[in-house]
């Protein structure tokens, strides 16, 4: 079974990664809007399976790196090679 995340943690992630976002309950779902986009089909549950969270993050155009900082392992993102950090520092 897929791992799930408390909705309260998702709100914390949204506040940090999608400033100005809004959400409201419709009859069947939570409707989350940001960046001129709307995700209509978010589950109205206390704990949300990560497949729904991934889909919402991608569809709204939220930074995956930012989302991962608040919800660890939400996405498999390869770390940049160490050489890149050295290059950036010069």
């Amino acid at each position: 079974m897929t791992a799930s995340v408390p909705f309260s943690d998702i709100l914390i992630m949204l506040k940090a990664c999608a400033p100005g976002f809004s959400w409201a309950d419709s009859t069947h779902f939570r409707v989350i809007s940001w960046n001129g986009r709307t995700y209509h089909a978010f589950p109205k549950l206390d704990n949300i399976e990560i497949g729904h969270i991934r889909k919402m993050v991608r569809t709204l155009g939220i930074s995956k790196e930012c989302a991962n900082r608040h919800i660890p392992k939400l996405f498999n993102i390869e770390a940049p090679p160490p050489g890149n950090l050295t290059t950036l520092s010069h």
Binding site: T2, T27, H28, F29, G51, H52
Partner: protein, 242 residues
């Protein structure tokens, strides 16, 4: 290598596809007989307990036959379980003084996240995902979730025109990454890098050009007449090469 001919039990490349009473010479599974009352994993476990050893007495064992290597190859291919689906759904939606018919021809990616955990991710429409313990359950729940989105949009729409515009906005909202994953999955199938398992191996296959993504919202309560040719069955097919 003819992927369609690989035995799902042991991974051996048979001369004919694993169906219609064909027998795999490597593990001895007779398809249509042994796999009716036993699962693939049960048949595989039984074969593994035999050694595993070459089953056929008439077909000679290949010189370089390596049962564990062929099984590892099979498992590696099956672990890439991403299936590019295309579908057509029709739904009637009541709203504020209107009745609308919505015909959706869409795209979705079915992914086996783990055993008994299937996810279907919308590509067009993109802003939707659903899960199930089987692909069939995921598809059914996906349609139900999509229908409820239409119902919610209908509730929020003051009239038909607002509803139509909102449904089209929902449909055309993109997820570029999902589109790329869908296209990659289609190429993998075309290149025979993935073995479709049931029920995908039994789905009709169509080229994407034959079923272009589109959504049509029509006002039904203004129609002067209805006819049986207007009916649209729910359809799921697998996308293949053009």
């Amino acid at each position: 290598m003819v992927i369609e001919n690989l035995c799902p039990v042991c991974g051996y490349e048979m001369e004919e596809p694993p169906r219609d009473y064909n027998i795999c010479p490597s593990c001895g599974t007779e398809f249509g007989v042994h796999d009716v009352n036993a699962s693939i994993s049960e048949l595989r476990a039984a074969w593994m307990q035999s050694g595993p050893r070459w089953w056929s007495k008439t077909d000679t064992q290949p010189d370089n036959w390596n049962p564990l290597a062929q099984l590892a190859t099979l498992d590696a291919r099956k672990s890439m379980a991403h299936y590019p689906l295309m579908f057509t759904l029709w739904d009637a939606v009541s709203g504020n003084a209107f009745l609308a018919g919505v015909t959706l021809t869409g795209r979705a990616l079915m992914v086996k996240e783990s055993e008994n955990d299937w996810w279907i991710y919308g590509v067009r429409p993109a802003a939707i995902a659903e899960t199930g313990s089987t692909p069939e359950e995921a598809c059914l729940r996906f349609h139900n979730r999509y229908k409820k989105v239409l119902f919610d949009i209908s509730e929020e729409s003051s009239d038909y025109e607002v509803f139509k515009k909102s449904v089209e906005d929902f449909y055309f909202q993109p997820d570029v990454e999902e589109e790329t994953r869908w296209e990659d999955a289609r190429k993998a199938l075309r290149g025979a890098e993935v073995i479709p398992e049931k029920p995908f191996s039994e789905l009709p296959k169509e080229s994407p050009e034959s079923r272009p993504p589109q959504i049509a919202v029509a006002r039904l309560d203004k129609l002067k007449r209805f006819q049986s040719s207007d009916n649209v069955p729910d359809t799921f097919v697998m996308a293949t090469a053009a």
